[in-house]
Symmetry: C2
DNA sequence: CTGAAAGCGCTAACAC
DNA sequence: GTGTTAGCGCTTTCAG
């Protein structure tokens, strides 16, 4: 790999001049030398040393993409369809903008911050952050950041959060089920914080508008891991007669539940109705296709990057809360109950 | 962010000494100073500047992970379940070994090489490479590399290839179908190169053992994009009476096909049988669950990293071809035909 | 229009 | 045990 200095020597020029034509600052350079330099650049197939560049310029064009999950024993984050679509979308958009993406999957805020500091990342996109972590990050990391699906309670937000109208999504699902005569509905999620909690609240609101209150025991907490999930669903199966429908906080859980029940001879939606949340491949490809609440992971990723770029460009702190809309996608897993 | 020099000044020591205790080269340093340095390290929360370190040491601990796909207009590679599982597994394993992963999704070999050269990556893991690209990469990139699922024809391999017994997988599928009385079988893939071609050959071999030859028109080429795929399946639907079964080169295509047919009232497996390949979430979660050929993406990722580490450690070129076994997973989409 | 030179933060050979 | 020093390749200010 040839260096600027070598080329400069070769041409009898200074490194400054070579560097200038590399960066297109060609206003101050004569046509002739520009041409000579360009030729050598091509001929020797010059590739800049990014480490040197970053060191000298004190910026990196790296954006860290963090998925923190304190309670999680996820083995492979990318097995999650939502996460991988989101990450793929961010990667694409970042590349388009000339930035590099650095994955930061961790369960430890300190580790995350160390990583991005060590690499001198120019910005951070964070997914699924809660209030405590948020505060730690704010304290340690002073560069632009965009949050996705993060619930910071009533903390003042420094930066941008790309969120979803989770509550309304939950409400729409609840309302839809209620309108079809369902009153005894189980809510399934792997946590009751953040977005899932909001979905629950919206759901409960719709229920109470219909004059039904949701009992604590209608909350069903499951575990993400495939085997643990099956164990949870075993219990759900035993309790199935308590419910006419289940509203799951993700399509994945909805699909797993549906399969679990169908494999035991329970008919969906004849005997039990199911709704999901996300409208990703799981609900679309399921048969019967699962009625769900739509959100757009790709769009979230794109928006996150755009907002980060805006901060990077303006170099002034922007605070913004963007809330993406949800939409009900009616498919085949909810039955109209006769009254 | 504090620097080594600052700490050294602060302590009245040289940068060497500080650097030494940072790296645990504490043999040459007195207990007392080690302690003093450590205290400052903690107190000021020292984080090394990786760009500086890389520049000075001329290595980066970065491993590029490349997915080249020349013919592909993939919008989002990570939407592919196999790729994202593989990538997640590589990420995890790389982190465990103290390396950083840099994604290189591109359709252009030159771009890839530039990227990894610019960052001074220590090694490369490449997925789905064909002979021509392989030669280009060999010429341009001189550091350790591991290939995954790459078919290099009869080129001499420099490096390691983690492959799959694709041909045998195809053969097993073909044989299985033949044993159940199927003779008119469509083969569905999005290309007829590399692994998919091998799968086809194995399949054709099993067919010819049964005294049937596969016609060119039994080759059905589809396109990855969701809408284009539907258009292809429209044609398949019209030709459905030519076949009693379809063998798809991926679970994804199998699931899409099954849904497409079922949505039009075709019963699977009663009217038509379907087999997939991969044994990933698509075949497992489908109903009826899809009979398929198993392979382990996570394992591939882990092996790729391990083999790369071996090369990195020994610093001698290793050439190796590892072929992972396949296995037939019998589920519910193949019917026994009466004779 | 072009060049000299300082410095980014760290490593490592070598000297004391 | 500890310190000096010369880079790594590039950017950027300032001077001609």
């Amino acid at each position: 790999m040839i260096t600027i200095k070598e080329m400069a020597d070769m041409l009898g020029l200074s490194t400054t001049t070579v560097s200038n034509v590399i960066h297109g600052k060609t206003g101050q350079v004569s046509e002739a030398t520009v041409e000579r330099v360009r030729r050598v650049l091509k001929e020797y197939d010059y590739v800049p040393n990014i480490n040197a560049r970053n060191l000298a310029s004190n910026q990196s064009n790296i954006i860290g993409v963090a998925i923190l999950n304190s309670r999680m024993n996820y083995v492979n984050y990318l097995k999650d369809a939502f996460i991988s679509e989101l990450l793929g979308s961010i990667e694409r958009e970042l590349k388009e903008q000339g930035y590099y993406l650095m994955m930061c999957f961790s369960s430890d805020t300190r580790e995350l911050i160390q990583r991005v500091s060590a690499w001198n990342a120019d910005g951070l996109i964070l997914f699924g952050i809660m209030a405590e972590e948020y505060q730690e990050i704010q304290k340690q990391f002073k560069k632009p950041q965009v949050y996705i699906d993060s619930y910071l309670g009533n903390l003042h937000l420094h930066g941008v959060n790309i969120g979803l109208d989770d509550r309304r999504g939950g409400y729409m699902a609840g309302r839809y089920l209620v309108e079809r005569g369902h009153r005894r509905i189980g809510f399934i999620a792997d946590n009751f914080k953040g977005g899932d909690y909001e979905r629950y609240c919206g759901f409960a609101e719709a229920m109470s508008e219909a004059g039904t209150t949701v009992k604590d025991s209608d909350f069903i907490e499951v575990e993400p891991d495939e085997r643990a999930l099956a164990a949870c669903y075993e219990k759900v199966y035993l309790r199935r007669h308590e419910f006419t429908a289940f509203f799951c906080a993700s399509d994945y859980y909805a699909l797993c539940l549906m399969n679990f029940l169908m494999d035991r001879g329970v008919k969906v939606p004849e005997e039990i109705s199911i709704m999901g949340f996300d409208d990703n491949i799981y609900s679309r490809m399921a048969r019967p296709a699962i009625t769900t609440i739509h959100q757009d992971a790709t769009q979230k990723g794109i928006l996150a990057v755009r907002h980060l770029m805006r901060q990077l460009d303006s170099s002034e702190a922007v605070s913004d809360q963007v809330v993406l809309p949800v939409e009900l996608v009616e498919r085949d897993t909810v039955r109209q109950l006769e009254s």
